[in-house]
């Protein structure tokens, strides 16, 4: 998978909660990536086996009176691979602003 800015943003959002379920809307908000781009990345991750997907329980969705939502979970391979993506991004100057936010009051 190509190391893009959006991939690193999605990887950071996924690794924020390693064992949890990730939902489209929340993931898009946390990563700050537009949903068409995010869905393309999620599909590639599913194809690579980095993510597993599932559907919200019918009862839970019924209680909220809306259709069930799809969720994504990191697989063991995904945790390793995304960890490697972040480690690689840390060494890359392109991703520096994303991984090392400037500290208030300190000019670079």
């Amino acid at each position: 998978m190509r190391r893009t800015y959006a991939l690193v943003q999605v990887a950071l959002a996924l690794l924020d909660d390693v064992g949890g379920r990730h939902w489209g809307y929340e993931l898009s908000k946390r990563s700050g990536v537009r949903s068409p781009v995010m869905y393309r990345i999620l599909q590639s991750m599913l194809d690579e086996g980095w993510l597993a997907d599932g559907w919200e329980e019918q009862i839970q969705a019924g209680r909220a009176k809306r259709p069930p939502r799809r969720y994504y979970e990191l697989t063991d391979a995904g945790k390793t691979e995304l960890g490697a993506v972040i480690a690689e991004a840390r060494r890359d100057a392109r991703f520096r602003p994303l991984l090392a936010p400037p500290i208030a009051g300190i000019s670079t």
Binding site: G24, S35, P36, W55, R69, R70
Partner: protein, 178 residues
């Protein structure tokens, strides 16, 4: 000018705006997802996601989904129709693995590992589907309140199986030696 302002703030205009902003996103999204193939999980996913978004953001989000559907749904559909389906492995000219270069051999090894992983995942999915079907056939589950969630799980597994089958086919078509 005052007539224009009057029209903008009139009740019919307000009603129309409420209709478009409150009702149309759902309808438009349901039309957009038709661009995906019938068994594509994104059809259900996008409709489920719509209601997670705040009402004010929905029209913009739906507009974005047109892009998702054009590239993720329509493009593969058209490409499948335009291009000839790939030849079966028996029709292809293949070289012996032992005669291939080390780089190709390495790629074949990765390819085989991927295929094995997909096959193992599919075997797990099929096993769970069989167990679920057996459970659902038992009379004690016929009227159980959890029957709905079992059916939903079965539905999900069927989608997963279909997507793994597609993935397996795609990998088979991308043999590194061809």
């Amino acid at each position: 000018m005052s007539a224009v302002i009057f029209h903008v703030i009139s009740w019919p205009t307000l009603g129309c705006a409420l209709l478009v902003w409150g009702f149309a996103p759902g309808v438009v999204l349901r039309l957009i997802v038709l661009l995906y193939p019938r068994d594509h999980p994104r059809r259900r996913e996008l409709i489920g996601e719509l209601y997670a978004y705040p009402r004010i953001e929905r029209p913009f989000w739906v507009a974005e989904q047109l892009e998702t559907a054009l590239f993720g749904g329509l493009y593969p559909r058209i490409a499948r129709h335009l291009h000839r389906s790939p030849a079966s492995p028996s029709q292809r000219q293949t070289t012996q693995v032992s005669a291939a270069s080390p780089a190709i051999r390495e790629r074949i090894k990765v390819w085989e590992a991927h295929l094995a992983r997909i096959a193992a995942n599919r075997a797990d999915v099929l096993q769970e589907m069989r167990a679920l079907r057996q459970m659902l056939d038992e009379p004690r589950w016929w009227y159980s309140t959890t029957r709905g969630s079992l059916l939903a799980r079965l539905d999900h597994l069927e989608h997963r199986d279909a997507s793994l089958r597609r993935l397996e086919q795609a990998y088979r078509d991308q043999h590194p030696d061809w």
